[in-house]
Every structure is written in structure tokens, then in C-alpha cells.
């Protein structure tokens, strides 16, 4: 590496910037930028750009990758079905097992299982009510003698018993209409409804307050950002105006000097 520096050698400036040049070259650049305003400004600008770069940070990510053995038990291994074969692609999974995608064969197996269970339940439900009827039919078929031995007296007795039972049921309406709401029950239900409404109102009020607070906070933050931007803009405008005034003043001074000389 040379120990001299040629003005405008940008690669040398980069080496200087990152402190990777040779000591001799560094000293040469130091000496040069002490005299050359352009190179000094270039180095300062590059350094400033580097400073700005520090603001860029990647977002936090939930990593935690790990290779798992096929025979390993636990959520990680369960979530990666192919890890059972080899600690390959699926073995390097992170996150909860239930969030992992399920392989096609497992989905098909699950669908078959659900279908089978549903079918079994349906069959069971269909046969259960039929059983007593079948039993009754069987009983009737096996005892024809008892069916033929019913007399008119038996039938009359049965009719009387039924009438008595119906009359008894009519005499106790409270028992029959137990499901109908009574005045006392009405009050209780109304109280429950009121309590529910009050609770709902409270919840809504809380939510409204939360939203309002959030809105105020957002508004306040935005206002501050806007104010900062406005302030920056004003600063720039003031700077520009100041520079123009300075230029004009210099121009006037120059004109004055020239006119005085004449």
C-alpha cells in the first residue's frame, strides 16, 4: 500500500473511514484532509451516513430453532412428523407443535376418524329407540294367550283408572304449568335482565374510555411529530432566508465599495 494519498481516491477514503488502511496511508490521509476541505467534507459525510445506519434494526423474531432427534418425545418432535424419519427439514422447526402444518396423510386419517365416529354415533342413535318396540313386539308375539284373555271388565277398569288420573292432573294445575313464569319469577328474571344490561353498559363505558384514551394519545403523538416537523421546516427556511440576506448584504457592501472607489 502506498504511503501517499491522491485527492479523490475514494477507495482509500473508505479504508480510512473503516480504519483498515495501513498506518502510513492513514497518516498521509490525515495530513491531506487537514488541508483539503473537499476530502474532509467527504469523510465527514460518509461518517455521518454510517451513523445513520445504526438506527436500522431488524424486528424481533421468535427464532429458537433446534434440530430434534426422531425418537425425541415432546411438543417439538410431535409437531414435526418428518422428524420421525430423519432430523431433516421438519426437525428444524420452532414454535408450538400445534401451529405446525399437518401432513396430508394425517389430515386424511383425521377426516376418516371423524367420519367413522360420526357414523357409529348415528347408527347407535338409530337403533336405540327401536329396541323397546322390538321387545314389545316380541313379547306380544310370544304371549298371544294373554292378549286374548282381556275381558270387558278389565277394559272398564282401565278406563276408570285413566279418567281418575286425568282428573287428578287437572286438579293440580300448578304442577302442570310449572314451566309458566309466575309473578315472583318475573321479578327475578327482570332483575337478572337489568343486571345483565348494567353489566353490558359498564363494559361499553370502559371500552369507550379506553378507546378515547388511546385516541387522545395517538392524537397527542401525531401533534408532537407534526410540531417537530414544522419546527424543522421553519429552521430550514430561516437558514435559507438568513443565507440570502447575508448574500444580499455582501452584494450591497461590494457595490458600495465599488461606487466609493469610483
Amino acid at each position: 500500500m502506498s504511503e501517499t494519498f491522491h485527492c479523490g481516491d475514494n477507495t482509500a477514503l473508505v479504508a480510512y473511514l473503516y480504519d483498515e488502511g495501513e498506518p502510513g496511508e492513514r497518516a498521509a490521509i490525515d495530513a491531506h484532509i487537514a488541508l483539503c476541505a473537499a476530502c474532509a467534507a467527504e469523510v465527514a459525510a460518509l461518517q455521518s451516513a454510517r451513523l445513520q445506519l445504526t438506527a436500522w434494526a431488524p424486528p424481533d423474531a421468535d427464532l429458537g430453532f433446534a434440530v430434534v432427534r426422531p425418537e425425541e418425545k415432546g411438543p417439538r418432535a410431535q409437531g414435526s412428523s418428518e422428524a420421525l424419519v430423519s432430523p431433516g427439514p421438519r426437525g428444524l422447526r420452532s414454535g408450538a407443535w400445534f401451529r405446525q402444518p399437518m401432513p396430508a396423510w394425517a389430515q386424511a386419517a383425521a377426516a376418516c376418524l371423524i367420519f367413522g365416529v360420526g357414523l357409529s354415533l348415528g347408527i347407535l342413535r338409530g337403533t336405540t329407540p327401536a329396541a323397546p318396540a322390538e321387545q314389545a313386539a316380541a313379547t306380544a308375539a310370544t304371549s298371544p294367550a294373554s292378549a286374548t284373555s282381556v275381558t270387558a271388565n278389565d277394559l272398564a277398569a282401565l278406563e276408570q283408572r285413566l279418567r281418575a288420573e286425568v282428573a287428578e292432573l287437572r286438579a293440580t294445575p300448578a304442577l302442570v304449568s310449572a314451566a309458566v313464569p309466575q309473578p315472583g319469577n318475573n321479578a327475578q328474571i327482570m332483575a337478572q335482565v337489568r343486571a345483565l344490561i348494567e353489566e353490558s353498559e359498564l363494559r361499553q363505558q370502559r371500552e369507550l374510555a379506553l378507546r378515547t384514551t388511546q385516541m387522545f394519545r395517538d392524537f397527542d403523538s401525531q401533534r408532537r411529530v407534526d410540531l417537530a416537523q414544522i419546527q424543522r421546516s421553519f429552521g430550514q427556511i430561516e437558514g435559507l432566508a438568513g443565507a440570502e440576506v447575508r448574500e444580499q448584504r455582501e452584494m450591497l457592501n461590494y457595490l458600495m465599495r465599488v461606487s466609493e472607489q469610483r
Binding site: 475514494n10 477507495t11 477514503l13 473508505v14 479504508a15 480510512y16 473511514l17 473503516y18 480504519d19 483498515e20 484532509i33 474532509a40 469523510v43 465527514a44 459525510a45 460518509l46 461518517q47 455521518s48 451516513a49 454510517r50 451513523l51 445513520q52 445506519l53 445504526t54 438506527a55 436500522w56 434494526a57 431488524p58 424486528p59 423474531a61 427464532l63 429458537g64 430453532f65 433446534a66 434440530v67 432427534r69 432430523p87 431433516g88 427439514p89 428444524l92 422447526r93 420452532s94 388511546q214 394519545r217 395517538d218 403523538s221 401525531q222 408532537r224 411529530v225 417537530a228 424543522r232
Partner: protein
């Protein structure tokens, strides 16, 4: 015990899975950060990171220690990023900065940091990310490796497969574009002490 990378690699090659998992734990954040900064998408960066370790694990028997383990890992990750960029050439490689949501910001604010500082930091981060997205892939990668991973010019040259002088040129051109973009966005370079 705090093993070095080389020791962990040797143990991993001997079949010790825990050693390889230690290497993953040690290097997954830098690799993820590299992938995110190169390709600019969180989910894809995660995938690249995962794929990097997967390939490293598979290729471990062939790794003879001719380079540093981290350099080898970086090379795999960069190749994957390059593949990803080739596949996504039609789509923008870097997401534009999203709008700033103060309520979301409040949760990530440090105890000593005001909301204004936080907003300003996020804004600057967005501008830098946007500016980095403007750079050609080689310049962006060179800057990322230098600025965020502290590599030497020679290491970057080895990874990028180019001469040392090319690395310097890429860094210079990249930084110049960044500087102009930041100036255009009102990020006037501050006067800093000379290096």
C-alpha cells in the same frame, strides 16, 4: 462450559446434536439479521435462517474447517438470500416502511426514551431501510456485512467472491447513495468528529 465454534463443530460432527443446537443458538440472531437486512421481509428472513442451519447441518460432514464456521454459515445464508432475490426479482426486495403507530410504539419504548425519540428513531430506521432498498444487491450486502457484522474487507471479498478493491468501491458507492437519499429525506448529515 463455553466451547468455541470449532470445538462445537467437531462435537457436532461426532453426532452430538446438542452441540449443533448450541451453534444454532449462538448464530441464529446474526443470520436472521443478515437475511432480514438483505431481503427485507421478516417471514422470508426466518425461512432463510432456518434453511441456512438445515443446510449447514446436512453439509456438516463435509465441512473440514477450511474456513471459520461463521464465515461458512454466512456464505450459505448469502447464497440463500441471492436465490430468494432471484426468485423475487419482479417484486420489491425491501418492504417500504410502514406508517408509525404510536400505540404500537408505546410498548417498545425504553424507560428513558420519550415517545418523540422513539418516533424519530422509527422514522429514521424506516428511511434507512428504504434507502438500503435502493442499493444494488452487492452494495447492500457489502454495507450490511461491514456495518452490522463487523467483517473485514478481506472477509467480505471472500464471501462475495470479488477483489478487495471492489469491496471498497461497493462500500463507497453504497454509502454515497445512502447519504444522498438521507439528505433528500431531511436527514441532514450531522457534523461528526473526524475518524
Amino acid at each position: 462450559m463455553n466451547w468455541t465454534d470449532e470445538e462445537l463443530v467437531t462435537r457436532s460432527r461426532g453426532g452430538d446434536l446438542d452441540s449443533f443446537n448450541q451453534l444454532i443458538l449462538r448464530w441464529e440472531r446474526p443470520i436472521y439479521a443478515l437475511a432480514y437486512r438483505v431481503i427485507g421481509r421478516e417471514e422470508d428472513a426466518r425461512d432463510v435462517c432456518q434453511e441456512t442451519f438445515l443446510r449447514a447441518y446436512r453439509a456438516l460432514p463435509g465441512f473440514k474447517g477450511q474456513a471459520k464456521f461463521s464465515s461458512w454459515l454466512y456464505r450459505i445464508a448469502l447464497n440463500l438470500c441471492r436465490d430468494w432475490i432471484r426468485r423475487q426479482r419482479r417484486a420489491p426486495t425491501v418492504q417500504l416502511a410502514e406508517g408509525i403507530d404510536p400505540t404500537e410504539l408505546a410498548s417498545e419504548r425504553g424507560p428513558a426514551e420519550s415517545i418523540e425519540d422513539l418516533v424519530a428513531r422509527r422514522e429514521l430506521s424506516g428511511v434507512v431501510e428504504e434507502a438500503m432498498g435502493l442499493l444494488p444487491e452487492e452494495q447492500r450486502t457489502a454495507i450490511i456485512l461491514k456495518e452490522y457484522h463487523g467483517m473485514t474487507f478481506q472477509e467480505i471479498a471472500d464471501l462475495q467472491g470479488c477483489p478487495l478493491s471492489t469491496v471498497k468501491t461497493r462500500l463507497y458507492q453504497g454509502l454515497s447513495v445512502l447519504r444522498r437519499h438521507l439528505e433528500k429525506n431531511g436527514r441532514v448529515p450531522q457534523l461528526v468528529k473526524r475518524v
